[in-house]
Symmetry: C2
Subunit: 226 residues, 2 copies
DNA sequence: TGACTCTTTATGTCTGCACATAATAGCAAT
DNA sequence: ATTGCTATTATGTGCAGACATAAAGAGTCA
């Protein structure tokens, strides 16, 4: 039992089988190191990973205990739409619908905590010719001045921003909604159809970078596993 | 510059400022260790964390390079419904709608990779008296035999399973859908309303534990940040 | 040319040791 | 009993050195 992976797995097994019950304190690192015949650093690494995954809770001096409510957290990746589509073996196409510099509506201002003029882009991502995602984006020119000189006719703001606008924080939200008249028309759906809406706001050091609303037609599924 | 955190931050800065451009290979661990005046292990830890976050890509022998497409990944927590509701300051209530042991429909069997009889529970979670989440759950009695002796009249399967049925793997999916007639009735919505549907399948060492479909009325938002 | 083996090298991981830090528990003073 | 200091202790992190492993690249042979 040398590898921290093996140790981690053994610990997971003990927790799963309730040999280490929820809420119970488990032996100290030193003791476990002795038991597994490894260095304390190795046990530490295994425990740190378990703690990061939310399986155990650790506090200095207090020791390590099995999480009472395994507030497991799942991760999901935020891929580029293009990659997402191409990964399914479909043909990707992009179309810019509109590009304007204009003051943002109240809702956008509130979300970004900023008023003034923004670059407003509306575009459509297609998979095998069918609408896959409608993108409605506001870019803060103060954070990304070079965006104003980009036409976005060929490259989607999604990809352009990834290459040109680093961010330090992002807020995500997901919801179900009924398609508005214009969204339904763009996506080729009957009005009022149930659409999956993802919203993402990014910031760089406190300053807003971009706010985007992504609308997917029915059939879209966001998946992840743990 | 001793701490791996400081080193990590400095590296993030260099990437954000394009001092280390996307796609470029960055200096080897040994060299960086010399530059930062630290041990290689410390640089290694910083780089490992960056790699896990998707900021850089590492391959043995090939070296470390700044990720071309920062496939950032976000995490979201999977709380107990009760905690979710109480965290909003609302009053939580639970109601069991039905409890039956019966063969699962084809769709469920396919998802769990198993046929036979399951414990089928349907219940409703309310926030301040209003429907918050409709839960439609199938439990595999082979993996959780004690579930058959539990009435679930008072405690929701959600909470009971957390305490009694460990799992090692989980698949999640999220989508928008139109409420079926029965779902609409249960949630007190007009038929065809857009609902947010979360589905979760859990397994313990390859054997299916439970499959649950959670339906939320409009207004529900799944949030996370990074 | 192409398939194979060998060497080289960067990352991956472990060890043993040391010191830092946070948090508890006990003691002391009020 | 309450407050505040202090010693103790488990975890957090650092270092130097070692070996493991994967993969690229060179060299070899058919």
């Amino acid at each position: 039992m040398a590898s921290f992976r093996a140790i981690k797995e053994e610990m997971e097994r003990r927790i799963a089988t309730r040999q280490w019950a929820p809420g119970a304190t488990i032996p100290a690192e030193e003791e476990l190191a002795r038991e597994f015949g490894s260095a304390r650093a190795t046990v530490n690494r295994a425990l740190q990973e378990l703690a990061r995954a939310g399986v155990v809770e650790r506090k200095r001096k207090a020791g390590t205990r099995v999480a009472l409510h395994p507030v497991r957290e799942a991760r999901f990746v935020i891929p580029l739409v293009r990659q997402e589509i191409e990964a399914e073996g479909a043909d990707y196409r992009y179309a810019l619908l509109s590009r304007r510099v204009e003051p943002a509506p109240e809702l956008v201002r509130a979300r970004l905590g900023l008023s003034g003029e923004f670059l407003h882009l509306r575009c459509l991502h297609l998979a095998d010719g069918a609408p896959y995602q409608f993108e409605d984006r506001w870019i803060n020119p103060a954070s990304v001045p070079t965006a104003l000189t980009e036409s976005f006719a060929e490259i989607s703001p999604n990809e352009w921003l990834v290459q040109n606008a680093p961010f330090s924080r992002a807020d995500f939200s997901f919801r179900a909604a009924r398609a508005s008249a214009s969204e339904a028309e763009i996506l080729g759906l009957p009005a009022g159809e149930a659409v999956f809406v993802a919203e993402r706001a990014t910031f760089i050091g406190g300053a807003p970078v971009t706010l985007v609303r992504l609308v997917h037609p029915p059939g879209y599924v966001l998946r992840t596993s743990l």
